[in-house]
């Protein structure tokens, strides 16, 4: 290999240091050591991370866990379950649940992308996927509201059940908006918080509206 003779490290510069990387969730060192572990461990670790984030959403403190280690598993699960639960609410039997699933899916992701772009354009310091992660996880209260609404609708669909559903959906909508604001508003310049909160409010309002007006056939 004559060409390789040129490529050599000069001997007066000692090569020293450590090859290990600091402990983080996304280091290649970890990947090497986790390649041989049983699949159950990998899944459990991811599930635990997702579960921890769920708890952070339910009790929004000013912590940066959601922001630091973003992942989109939780939002995907929530989005799919919400879209599945919103199926079958069409008045006409001709348009089946197909478009509605895609509708919910597109609204959630398209809305989250628009809010992220908006907050970035207003001078936010948060990254694209971090914002998507936060917005997706904060749909959790609304998914729970949907579950409760479906159960209430099983019991009956009169005025009383409508009032119960209204109260639950409004409460969960407020919770979602407050939770996502707690995480996202910090990354904005202080006088522009209202400009960022309004689209989030609108986004969760549309989702709450879809949940509230859901009537099974």
């Amino acid at each position: 290999f004559p060409g390789l003779a040129d490529v050599s490290i000069s001997e007066d510069i000692p090569v020293e240091g450590e090859i290990t990387v600091p402990v983080g969730s996304r280091s290649p060192d970890e990947d090497y050591s986790t390649l041989d572990e049983p699949v159950k461990d990998t899944i459990m670790r991811d599930l635990k991370a997702v579960g921890k984030k769920f708890i952070h959403v339910m009790y929004p403190k000013k912590s940066s866990t959601l922001l630091r280690d973003w992942d989109l598993w939780g939002p995907l699960v929530l989005c799919v379950s919400l879209a599945l639960m919103l199926q079958g609410g069409s008045a006409d039997s001709k348009d089946d649940g197909g478009p509605q699933f895609a509708e919910v899916f597109v609204i959630i992701w398209f809305g989250a992308v628009v809010i992220t772009l908006n907050s970035k354009l207003l001078g936010g310091t948060i990254s694209f996927f971090q914002s998507l992660c936060v917005l997706g996880y904060c749909i959790l209260p609304l998914t729970m509201a949907m579950l409760v609404c479906r159960l209430v609708l099983l019991a009956g669909s009169g005025t009383v059940s409508f009032i119960i559903r209204l109260i639950i959906v409004v409460a969960m909508f407020g919770w979602s908006t407050l939770a996502s604001t707690a995480f996202l508003a910090d990354s904005q310049p202080p006088n522009r918080k209202a400009l960022v909160v309004y689209p989030i409010f609108l986004f969760y309002f549309v989702i709450s509206w879809m949940i509230l007006t859901f009537t099974p056939q």
Partner: protein
């Protein structure tokens, strides 16, 4: 070998670059903030209405300057090469390689700059540079027609407010469609709402901008988008109120007053920026007609049927009566109600 050649080549290229840096240095100074695409809008005169405000044109101009500089550099390098050829033959290969290397660097730099320019959302950043106070002020201003139409009125080229208003209109429309049980055969409820609102905002803005271009009005595309977007504030208020309170006469009052005020404001601003009676008439007539008709369309296409008719009549005879019920004012509703009850009882 190749290793030996690259070192002097790199040095010469470095020297060459600094030599021609003087030509390109002026260009570098023109770009504010180095490689960033953000341009300080405060330095621009808003009332001039000139196309200089248009970001796209500015970038085009910068690109043209770049191309001019490149052409000069190319011509300079070619001359340099010819001069050297007459001298030392051995160095021509080296110089040729050096020039090719330089051209490659320039091309790569331009391509990455162009990419970062157009794929960068920083392009839109100046249009979102607002404070909440400003947005509120502009929302209120959009309902107040200006008196001075002989002096070009200032339009803020801002896109945050209009975008949020369009999304709000979409949400209100969804609410109206759901409560009126509108059934969309081809497509979805959400898709229709988004398509209608965005289609109106973008389509009518472009159309009026085109008319403004024909009528020599001093307005840019961003300003037109902003103007029409803020004009939708009146629509939002009207629809929000009348989707919940179903009196036709109330709707007509809101249509005239609220819709009329926001239309008058847009018309006044456009008139202040146009010269000539015919042009003013064409432009403002078209805008007023489209704006008012859009509100009418939004109300009647997605409006909940007045309650009384539905409660009394059940069965397959309903649809024709539904059609009639939408268009009659509240006063004759009572008459129709009692008549329908009477007919139902006799059947």
């Amino acid at each position: 070998g190749p290793g030996a050649m690259s070192a002097p080549g790199a040095a010469a290229a470095g020297g060459g670059r600094s030599g021609t840096a003087a030509d390109w240095g002026g260009f570098e100074d023109n770009m504010q903030g180095g490689g960033s695409a953000v341009i300080d809008m405060e330095n621009m005169d808003d009332t001039s209405g000139s196309s200089f405000e248009d970001m796209g044109e500015m970038h085009q101009r910068m690109k043209e300057e770049e191309e001019e500089e490149e052409a000069e550099a190319e011509a300079g390098a070619a001359e340099e090469e010819d001069g050297e050829f007459l001298g030392m033959k051995g160095l021509r290969g080296q110089l040729g390689r050096q020039v090719a290397d330089q051209m490659w660097q320039v091309g790569k730099r331009q391509a990455s700059r162009a990419f970062s320019l157009y794929a960068n959302i920083d392009i839109l950043r100046p249009y979102f540079d607002v404070e909440p106070v400003q947005v509120r002020a502009r929302l209120l201003e959009s309902m107040i027609p200006v008196k001075m139409i002989n002096f070009p009125q200032k339009i803020a080229g801002e896109l945050y407010g209009p975008l949020m208003l369009v999304f709000t209109l979409v949400a209100i429309l969804l609410h109206g469609m759901k409560t009126s049980d509108t059934i969309i055969r081809e497509g979805t409820l959400m898709g229709t709402a988004i398509g209608t609102c965005f289609g109106y905002w973008l389509g009518v803005s472009s159309f009026i901008y085109f008319l403004a271009y024909l009528c020599n009005a001093q307005i840019t595309m961003v300003q037109m988008l902003s103007l029409l977007g803020y004009g939708l504030f009146g629509h939002c208020i009207t629809l929000f109120v009348t989707y919940n309170i179903h009196f036709h006469s109330l709707f007509y009052i809101f249509w005239l007053v609220v819709g009329g005020l926001s239309t008058l404001r847009m018309v006044a601003v456009l008139v202040s920026r146009t010269v000539g009676h015919t042009q003013r008439l064409i432009l403002c007539g078209t805008l007023a007609a489209l704006h008012m008709l859009f509100l009418l369309y939004l109300h009647f296409a997605y409006h909940k049927v007045v309650e009384g008719i539905l409660d009394t009549l059940e069965g397959p005879n309903m649809p024709p009566f539904q059609r009639v019920a939408r268009d009659i004012p509240v006063v004759s509703n009572a008459v129709l109600n009692t008549t329908a009850k009477a007919i139902a009882l006799t059947l």
